[in-house]
C-alpha cells in the first residue's frame, strides 16, 4: 500500500517536499551544532555578533 501511495502522484509530491524540507533541516542542524561546539571554545570578544 505504501509503495502504491509513493508511486502515485500525491505520494511523489509528498516525497519531493519531504526530501527538500528534510535536506534543508539537516543542513541547518549541522551548521547550528557546529556553531555551538566552536562557540564553546572561543571567548565572546572573538565573536563579533555577540
Amino acid at each position: 500500500m505504501i509503495a502504491a501511495v509513493i508511486s502515485g502522484y500525491v505520494g511523489t509530491v509528498v516525497l519531493g517536499y519531504s526530501l527538500v524540507l528534510g535536506g534543508m533541516a539537516l543542513f541547518a542542524l549541522r551548521v547550528l551544532r557546529r556553531g555551538r561546539v566552536l562557540a564553546r571554545q572561543l571567548p565572546d570578544e572573538d565573536k563579533p555578533w555577540t
Binding site: 541547518a28 551548521v31 556553531g35 571567548p43 555577540t50
Partner: protein, 255 residues
C-alpha cells in the same frame, strides 16, 4: 584565546532568530500554497506541485553560486581583497551545493512521474546541472586542502569563477540543445510567463521562502566559518610559540 569563557552558546542573535522565524513562516506558506491553494495541472495533474520546490531550488542554486563568483571576484580584485570575501564565497558555495542537490533530486522525482524515468544522459539540463554539482564539490574539496589562508583563498576564487561559468550553460541548455526538459515557462525572452496566476504566485512564494532560508543559512554558516578561522589562526600561533620555545637540539632531531 581561553576555552570555556563563552557566555553565548552559538551563532544566533535576535536578528537571525527573527529571520529564522520568517523563513519557517515562508516554508509553511509554501506548503499551504503548494498542497492546498494551487490547482492541479490539466496535463501533469498533482505532480506539478513539485514545481514549487524544484524551481526555487534551482534559482537559489544560481543565486548561491552567483554570490560565490561575486565574492571571488571581490577577493581577486586588489582594492577589495579581504579574507571575508573568501569566507562568504566558501559558505555560499556549500549552501549552493545543498540547493543544487535538491533541484536535482526533485527534478529526478518529477521526471519519474512525467517521463517515466529519473535520469537521461541525453537531457542537457540534467547533465549540465550534475556537472555544476560536481564542479562545486571540487571547489569545496579544494578549499579543504591544507594551505596558507591567502593561497587557499586565491586558488578557490579562481576555481569558483571557473565553476560559475556552468550556470549560464545550465540555464540556456534548454534553448541551445535538444533536451527533454521543458523550455522556460517563467523567465522567457518575451517576458510573458506561460503559467496560471496562482501557480506563478506559488512559485514566487517558494522563491521568497527559499531566499529567506538561504540568507539565514549564510549568516549562520559564515559565523561558523569565522570561528573556524579564529581557531585555525590560534592553533597556528600556539604551534609557532611552542616551536620558538623549543631547545635547538630538539628541532634538529625533529628535522
Amino acid at each position: 584565546m581561553t576555552a570555556g569563557t563563552t557566555t553565548r552558546p552559538g551563532t544566533g542573535t535576535r536578528g537571525s532568530r527573527i529571520l529564522g522565524v520568517l523563513a519557517l513562516a515562508g516554508l509553511a506558506w509554501l506548503v499551504i500554497f503548494g498542497f492546498l491553494l494551487s490547482p492541479a495541472d490539466e496535463v501533469q495533474g498533482d505532480s506539478v506541485r513539485l514545481m514549487y520546490v524544484h524551481v526555487p531550488s534551482a534559482w537559489l542554486a544560481y543565486l548561491s553560486f552567483g554570490v560565490t563568483a561575486f565574492c571571488s571576484l571581490m577577493y581577486l580584485w586588489k582594492r577589495t581583497r579581504s579574507l571575508a570575501w573568501d569566507r562568504v564565497a566558501g559558505c555560499s558555495a556549500e549552501i549552493g551545493l545543498l540547493f543544487t542537490g535538491l533541484a536535482l533530486v526533485t527534478g529526478m522525482t518529477w521526471g519519474q512521474v512525467t517521463r517515466g524515468h529519473v535520469w537521461d544522459w541525453g537531457d542537457a539540463r540534467l547533465v549540465t546541472t550534475a556537472l555544476l554539482f560536481l564542479l562545486f564539490v571540487g571547489y569545496v574539496a579544494l578549499r579543504r586542502l591544507p594551505a596558507a589562508p591567502n593561497v587557499r583563498a586565491k586558488r578557490a576564487a579562481v576555481a569558483g569563477i571557473i565553476a560559475f561559468l556552468d550556470v549560464p550553460l545550465v540555464h540556456q541548455s534548454v534553448e541551445w540543445f535538444r533536451t527533454l526538459h521543458q523550455s522556460p515557462t517563467i523567465l522567457r525572452k518575451d517576458l510573458n510567463p506561460q503559467i496560471d496566476g496562482v501557480m506563478l504566485f506559488s512559485v514566487f512564494v517558494g522563491v521568497v521562502a527559499f531566499t529567506l532560508v538561504y540568507v539565514w543559512l549564510l549568516v549562520h554558516r559564515n559565523r561558523v566559518a569565522m570561528m573556524e578561522a579564529q581557531l585555525e589562526a590560534g592553533g597556528l600561533e600556539q604551534a609557532l610559540a611552542e616551536r620558538r620555545g623549543e631547545p635547538v637540539g630538539t628541532a634538529a632531531v625533529g628535522s
